[in-house]
């Protein structure tokens, strides 16, 4: 099986996460389809973000975190000892809940990832291409040297997406990317996600049912058990999940009977 053509990019098997004594995520099996948008939904504290951060080894940065189980990234074991997390992170990008551009110029924000990864090509061209892909170029092309914090919240989030795209990742992980934005900026991000999914795999955590229904191909529903550990209840095609969920808990959640 060729590593960039298999049906699944990421496959979590028997995945557990602990923060100190706290068992945050238990026994997760999840397959992320290539060039698909997979939405992770579920009530607060169900481990959606924890699961997302397993996929680019961001939990390594939390001293008390412990990850067990296997995550297959193409043909490699993501958690193997010989795998360098910085290498993984340059291939699996991330966009955060609150727009977090660096306090640098728009240009330098996009160029940052290229520079640290030793990009030797034409920097101007790569920055322009990334901003084009993030549908931000037309709005910022005349002020690339202005500070990123002069942009609106929605523009800042698209800048963060451009920054992630610049290093040409196979996967982009998005942690509630539109939760801090107004409805119009949210719509722009959602359109962008659909557009990007043509050549990038996207995993998105969201609290917003409608958003999950609008942008995702597949949805995984997570819940917390009586020990506050998160687990996957159901995973399937988004259409099927929202029209005829197999599990009654999924139905209860998506129809708003609990949150």
């Amino acid at each position: 099986m060729n590593s960039t053509t298999g049906a699944y990019v990421l496959e979590a098997e028997n995945l557990h996460v602990w923060y100190g004594e706290f068992h945050a995520l238990r026994d997760v099996y999840l397959k992320v389809g290539r060039r698909k948008v997979t939405a992770l939904i579920g009530p607060s504290g169900c481990g959606k973000t924890t699961l997302l951060r397993c996929f680019n080894r961001m939990n390594d940065l939390v001293p008390t975190a412990r990850v067990e189980g296997r995550i297959q990234f193409n043909d490699e074991d993501l958690n193997a000892d010989y795998v360098d997390p910085t290498d993984i992170r340059s291939r699996i990008g991330m966009v955060f809940q609150k727009p977090n551009p660096f306090p640098k110029s728009i240009y330098d924000n996009v160029a940052f990832g290229l520079r640290i990864n030793g990009y030797t090509g034409d920097m101007d061209e790569a920055v322009e291409r990334s901003l084009q892909r993030a549908a931000l170029w037309d709005e910022v092309k005349d002020r690339l040297n202005k500070g990123a914090h002069t942009l609106s919240g929605g523009q800042q989030q698209r800048l963060c997406i451009a920054r992630a795209l610049a290093v040409e990742p196979e996967v982009i992980l998005m942690d509630e990317p539109a939760s801090a934005l107004d409805p119009i900026a949210t719509l722009a991000i959602e359109e962008l996600i659909r557009e990007l999914a043509r050549d990038v795999t996207i995993v998105i955590v969201t609290h917003n049912m409608q958003q999950a229904a609008r942008v995702s191909d597949e949805t995984a529903f997570l819940m917390v058990d009586e020990n506050r550990s998160g687990y996957v209840v159901e995973h399937g095609e988004t259409n099927q999940m929202f029209t005829e969920p197999r599990d009654e808990r999924t139905e209860a959640y998506i129809t708003g009977r609990f949150s």
């Binding site: 680019n56 961001m58 940065l61 001293p63 910085t86 290498d87 993984i88 992170r89 340059s90 291939r91 990008g93 991330m94 955060f96 609150k98 977090n100 551009p101 660096f102 306090p103 640098k104 110029s105 940052f112 990832g113 520079r115 640290i116 990864n117 202005k146 500070g147 990123a148 914090h149 002069t150 963060c160 920054r163 992630a164 290093v167």
Partner: protein, 293 residues
């Protein structure tokens, strides 16, 4: 309504009166310090102005007040400040980066943190004695400007470290996460994101430290002695004197004229201090502008 009256004793008049009284107390606190500073400044400037001249700056010390200058002390101070900055900034910022970004959070680092804070409160003459033993004697640096600068560096390191740490800690975690998520190594995150964002605060700490160092007489008295220096240092191993010592020397003389010279020396010391700060503020503002405009 009736019930409300029974439960609340609003006493609006009393609360308003208390508010005004507190305002006056705080205003008075500000005035006391500002007026005190102003009186001091006016006294020194009026005493010093008749003696401010090119001769004061360019002449060597002399027994005759009308010919006395502080050229060696001025150059000595510049040497001392330059070397002190060269030692204390990289070491201080490096220590702060290590403690904030690399060190595990355990008892040992907590102990180190407490000790650094305590060191900031140690009397400066103690540093002078330490420097005399460590640098002058043990490392055999003699009473050189290098020994002085190393001593001064020890003195201001806690200030630089504390301010730098505060500033590094204030850099939002989300910046670091964004950089890590792009595949940056620890050092790339520090160099590319943390230090640029923390630079204004680090410079503030450097200003504070250098301002402390430029005015210190006690530790330099121990290191260099109260020399009658008639030459300027040309390399780090030369003997030296500094402005506060020259001022101290003049103040302690009985003749009236030397008091004027001392005041003029203080004015000059303030000028050097303020121009040093101006440079740092200029650098700081340059970096701040780049992120928000």
């Amino acid at each position: 309504m009736v019930q409300g009256h029974a439960i609340f004793r609003r006493r609006k008049e009393l609360r308003k009166a208390l508010g005004s009284a507190v305002y006056v107390v705080f205003l008075a606190a500000v005035l006391v310090s500002v007026v005190g500073l102003l009186v001091l400044l006016v006294d020194i400037v009026t005493g010093g102005i008749p003696w401010l001249s090119l001769k004061l700056i360019l002449n060597y010390p002399s027994r005759h007040p009308e010919q006395a200058g502080l050229w060696p002390a001025l150059i000595g101070t510049l040497w001392l400040m330059g070397l002190t900055a060269a030692f204390s900034v990289p070491v201080g910022v490096g220590a702060a980066v290590y403690l904030e970004e690399y060190a595990p959070k355990n008892r040992l680092t907590a102990l180190i943190e407490i000790n650094i804070s305590n060191l900031a409160g140690v009397p400066s003459v103690v540093y002078g004695l330490l420097g005399a033993a460590l640098f002058v004697q043990w490392l055999a640096l003699d009473r050189s400007v290098l020994a002085g600068a190393l001593t001064m560096s020890l003195l201001i390191l806690p200030i630089v470290i504390l301010a730098s740490r505060e500033s590094i800690r204030a850099v939002p975690r989300t910046y670091r996460e964004a950089a890590f998520a792009l595949g940056a190594t620890d050092w790339q995150v520090v160099k590319g994101v943390v230090l640029p964002a923390a630079l204004p605060g680090i410079l503030t700490g450097v200003i504070l430290g250098m301002s402390r160092a430029i005015g210190e007489a006690a530790p330099m008295l121990v290191i260099s002695g109260l020399l009658f220096v008639t030459f300027i240092p040309t390399n780090p191993m030369d003997k030296f004197t500094v402005l506060p010592l020259q001022i101290f020397n003049w103040v302690s003389r009985p003749q009236e004229d030397f008091q004027g010279l001392a005041a003029a020396g203080i004015v000059l010391l303030l000028v050097v201090l303020l121009s040093m700060n101006a440079v740092a503020v200029f650098i700081r503002n340059r970096y701040q502008v780049r992120s928000d405009e």
